[in-house]
Amino acid sequence: MTLHPLIEPGWVNAILPELVLCVGGLLLMLLGAFGARLRGITAPLALIVFIVTAWSEKLVLAGTFFGGTYEISGITRIFDITFLLSAILATLFAREYLEREGIEGGEFYALLMWATVGMMMMAKGLDLLIVILGLELLSICIFVLVGYHRRIPVSNEASLKYFLMGAFATGFILYGTALFYGATRSTNFTEMARAFSTADPNNVLLSIAFVLLMSGLGFKLAAAPFHGWAPDVYQGAPSPIAGWLSVAPKAATLIALVRLLSAMLPMLQFSLWMKMIAALSVLSMVIGNAAAIAQRDLKRMLAYSGIAHVGYMLIALLSLRDDSVAAIAVYTITYALMNIGAFGVVSTLAKNQNDPQTLDDIAGLGFRSPFSGLALTVCMFSLSGLPPTAGFIAKFYIFKTAVDSGHLAIAIVGILTSIVSVYYYLRVVYYLYMKEPAEGYAIVPAGGIFATGALAITMIGIFVIGLFPTPLFAMAGAAARALLP
């Protein structure tokens, strides 16, 4: 083993986006300390920081840095943009939500920034330890963000639950990593790949390591059967954070998984490992969709629907080719738009946040607030995969990779369950437009210009990707070709 000099020339350029976010977060913390007068400008400042970060992505050169532990390429850029998009949407929805709930502060956005840094590390890490480092940074920020509504018991409870379960899952991830290190003498993906190419496919130790690691990551993905926490945590978390939480960390985990699995490619051909991913996928699709039918609480329904969507995305992992990685990239961006949008509408329902937001709250909303109603309808159409929305295209790419790579059975499960899912998504539309609210009970959305802007972004994005998916898909495909061996 040769030792690399860890700090190479050009390292600042490599982590410029991360640096911008870190410094921006610190500045916002400081601003928060200067009292109530400056609170109004924290959200716009945070938006500026996120946009500057997105712009700084252009200055970053592709390559490997820090002794072969950090890789920047086209695909990491696409995922960085997905994380930033999620953060921007969450910020837009949070602005008015936090103000209304009286809990606004600079630290909220700072935490969002640092969490984004963690996700960027997960996407770019070429070393399991870097991925875990990013994951932990992300998790700690999530603990606080979920419990950010500190005066409300459900929020505290959600935070504690996520903390306990997260610690539990991290244990599995670390133990799996340790076993991998024991078997391959490295945590670096490149070197692990070299060791795997000569490894015995029937090595039980490696298999146990894989199952442990996969289970831990399955927790972060909220994939069944490691999904138990998700409905409680989403329900308790502030709605803008619930939407963000249901998208961004999953995207980060998925791209890390793509890197990890492509290092393991020689092993995957022979072992039962792919079957575990298939099992996670099928369980997630079936349990997620079936359980969502029984929900009346909107956030719980979206939580179960999120479990199902992870199931769809995992299908693409079964065939690690450039078009399947591109399919995941398109899916995560689409999912960010439609799911954060849906949670966003829920976040505008001015109501005691300790109470559940149920279907009854949106009865007749389509007539009381046409714009919110339309936005939620578009999100629901997209989530259910009706053409010509982005959700249809995203699912189409996913199922097509499955059929192309010979996983017809799992594609059929996907199609069947997504057809079942239309039932509960359309039920939301039915409540919006075909149901009268109960007597004297009509919640009007309290969203202002920020939430309206965010909803406009999601709707435009959903239709643009739905009608013109080819450029995005081609870009992601080209980036994925560079990533895969």
Binding site: F172, L212, F219, P225, P387
Partner: protein, 624 residues
């Protein structure tokens, strides 16, 4: 126009946007203008395109207008493209012009309804989606329209959302159609995977070039599954009768003339595939024949004017599937056209009757309307004669062509005789239930309340003009068969029917039409409702079974819906119970872990962690 085919669906889409966004604010006058006008402009644009097409492609070749490359991945792509060929043109003309007439009719019919703007925006959207369906040049574009019309159908069935049965009916239509969509989607992915394209022409070309017959049969059967959902065939027909909860013009447009015939189009369009898979064709023909007779017998005992027509639609769609199923694609499409006229006329006529009767739909409380609403009565009579199959009205020619083809088909000649026999009996029932409906509604004396009688009135011109136009179409539609015009024009694959068989079928068709009508006259024309009562006395079990539609709904509820609901509940609620179960089963180790975790005491977290742990153990056991 040929290079801007997208305009044809775009015009009603624009109408949808205008009505949906501004209709409520700008009032009913604005909506009454935008709604019918956008559909009229679309009809004109479509007709201009057809004329240009006729000029440019005298041989009936396919014209494709690619808007742009919609999806491309890994060398496989799909364009957003529209096409014109004779089959698309037939569908286009029926959809736009019948659609326009029904928009016009709706101005009068819906005038006093709340949510007038909502109604017209949905109706415009439906028209746009239906045009995407029939003009699309690939299965994928067709699917876009397919899903869209399903959505509009759901919205319009549930239009009177303050009525529970309307909402339930909408939901039922939606759920049942999902099963069909599954077939369509899987068929499409199979085409992508094995043919690398979903373009209509390319798929047919590749399939004809020699592929595994099993694959073609599978694709055909999956497509047909889609068709049974949308076109209400056994076993998925149950949603259509309930769909009558929607406004009557919607029943005429969506649930009689256009959307429900999309399934027939779906068989006729890939006819090259179906001819390679005679087994699939046979399934189509058998299902069609069974549906035709099954629904016709139910129609005998229904008393809601719209329900009778609904079962009649299911039955007539069955005839169309017999046509395409025996390989007589032209005959199936011909019946689709004539049916669009006479069934739209009947539904709009029933709407006019309901309008006159102040909302009454039960024919037992009607009667004697012949003199009171003469235009409605005359047009209704003409359409009834047409559907009953009397020459020389349109229904006779198209139905006869289907039955003669069944008798003469080269794919399964032995079975063909049986299908012809079943079809002919179904035609007998058709004449019978339709004239029962006619005599009970218009004949005899008035059986309603005095107040209803006081309010009886003929409908305004926006309602009667469409009726007259459609009645004229019902009379003259048969002209399409003169000199085999439609056959030459459509150029769909066909086969020779020997004169002896053609005469046999024709004579049999005429006899059953006369017989059915005569029975209906002898029973209901003379005795009125007393005939129904006698039926109940003589054969109570049969009467009750028919009245309850063979108890199919009840059967589905018990056998499918309830267990599925239980399963969903089980998966949700059962997760906790499941863990407890595993806890008990897992014995020592798991119980010990459970004890270990118990100190956390934070509600369900213990359970989640345990589920996590059990999951890991199971995965290690299986996968390591």
């Amino acid at each position: 126009m040929l290079n801007h085919l997208w305009l044809i669906p775009a015009l009603p889409l624009l109408g949808f946007l205008l009505n949906g966004l501004f209709g409520k604010r700008l009032g009913n006058g604005f909506v009454s203008l935008v709604g019918p006008l956008s559909s009229f402009l679309s009809a004109v644009a479509g007709t201009v395109a057809v004329l240009q097409y006729h000029h440019q492609y005298p041989n009936g070749d396919r014209h494709v207008d690619v808007v742009y490359n919609w999806i491309s991945s890994g060398g496989v792509g799909a364009d957003l493209a529209f096409q014109l060929d004779p089959l698309s043109i037939v569908m286009l003309l029926v959809v736009t012009w019948v659609g326009f007439l029904i928009h016009l009719y709706s101005v009068g019919y819906m005038a006093h309804e709340e949510g007038y703007w909502r109604y017209f925006s949905y109706l415009n959207l439906f028209l746009a989606e239906m045009l995407v369906l029939v003009l699309g040049s690939s299965y994928l574009v067709m699917f876009v329209g397919w899903e869209g019309v399903g959505l509009c159908s759901y919205l319009l069935i549930g239009f009177y959302y303050d009525k529970d049965f309307a909402v339930a009916a909408g939901k039922k239509a939606f759920v049942v159609n999902r099963i069909g969509d599954f077939g369509f989607l899987v068929a499409m992915f199979l085409m992508f995977a094995y043919f690398g394209t979903v373009d209509f022409a390319k798929v047919s070309q590749i399939a004809s070039g020699g592929v595994e017959p099993g694959l073609v049969t599978a694709i055909c059967l999956l497509l047909f599954l889609g068709a049974t959902g949308k076109s209400a065939q056994i076993p998925l027909y149950v949603w259509l009768p309930d769909a009558m909860a929607g406004p009557t013009p919607v029943s005429a447009l969506i649930h009689a003339a256009t959307m429900v015939t999309a399934g027939v189009y779906m068989i006729a369009r890939p006819n090259a595939l179906y001819r390679l898979a005679p087994d699939a064709l046979m399934v189509v023909a058998i299902i069609g024949a069974l549906t035709a007779i099954f629904a016709a017998t139910i129609g005998i005992r229904q008393n809601d004017i719209k329900k009778v027509l609904a079962y009649s639609t299911v039955s007539q769609l069955g005839f169309m599937f017999i046509g395409v199923g025996v390989g007589a694609f032209t005959a199936g499409i011909f019946h689709l056209i004539t049916h669009a006229f006479f069934k739209a006329c009947l539904f709009l006529g029933s709407g006019s009757v309901i309008h006159a009767m102040s909302g009454e739909q039960d024919i037992r409380r009607m009667g004697g309307l012949w003199k009171k609403i003469p235009i409605t009565a005359w047009t209704f009579l003409i359409a009834t004669i047409a559907i009953a199959g009397f020459p020389p009205l349109s229904g006779f020619f198209s139905k006869d062509e289907i039955l003669a083809s069944a008798l003469a088909n080269p794919y399964f000649p032995d079975l063909g005789v049986w299908i012809w026999a079943i079809g002919t009996v179904a035609a007998l029932f058709t004449a019978f239930y339709m004239f029962r409906l006619f005599f009970l509604t218009f004949g005899g004396s008035f059986r309603g309340t005095q107040e209803q009688e006081h309010h009886l009135h003929e409908s305004p011109w926006t309602m009667t003009v469409p009726l007259v136009v459609l009645a004229a179409g019902s009379i003259l539609g048969g002209a399409l068969t003169v000199n085999h015009f439609l056959e030459h024009w459509l150029e769909l694959p066909t086969f020779e029917v020997s004169p002896a068989r053609a005469w046999l079928a024709m004579i049999a068709s005429t006899i059953v039409a006369i017989l059915g009508t005569w029975f209906a006259y002898a029973l209901f024309g003379r005795r009125g409702l007393a005939a129904d009562e006698r039926f109940e006395r003589r054969a109570p079990a049969v009467a009750r079974t028919l009245e309850n539609k063979y108890y199919v709904d009840e059967f589905y509820d018990e056998a499918l819906v309830t267990p599925l609901e239980r399963f969903s509940r089980f998966l949700w609620r059962g997760i906790d119970a499941l863990i407890d179960g595993i806890l008990a089963l897992g014995g020592y180790v798991v119980a010990a872990v459970g004890d270990l975790l118990r100190f956390l005491q934070t509600g369900n977290v213990r359970n989640y962690a345990l589920m996590f742990f059990v999951g890991v153990i199971v995965f290690i056991w299986i996968f390591a």
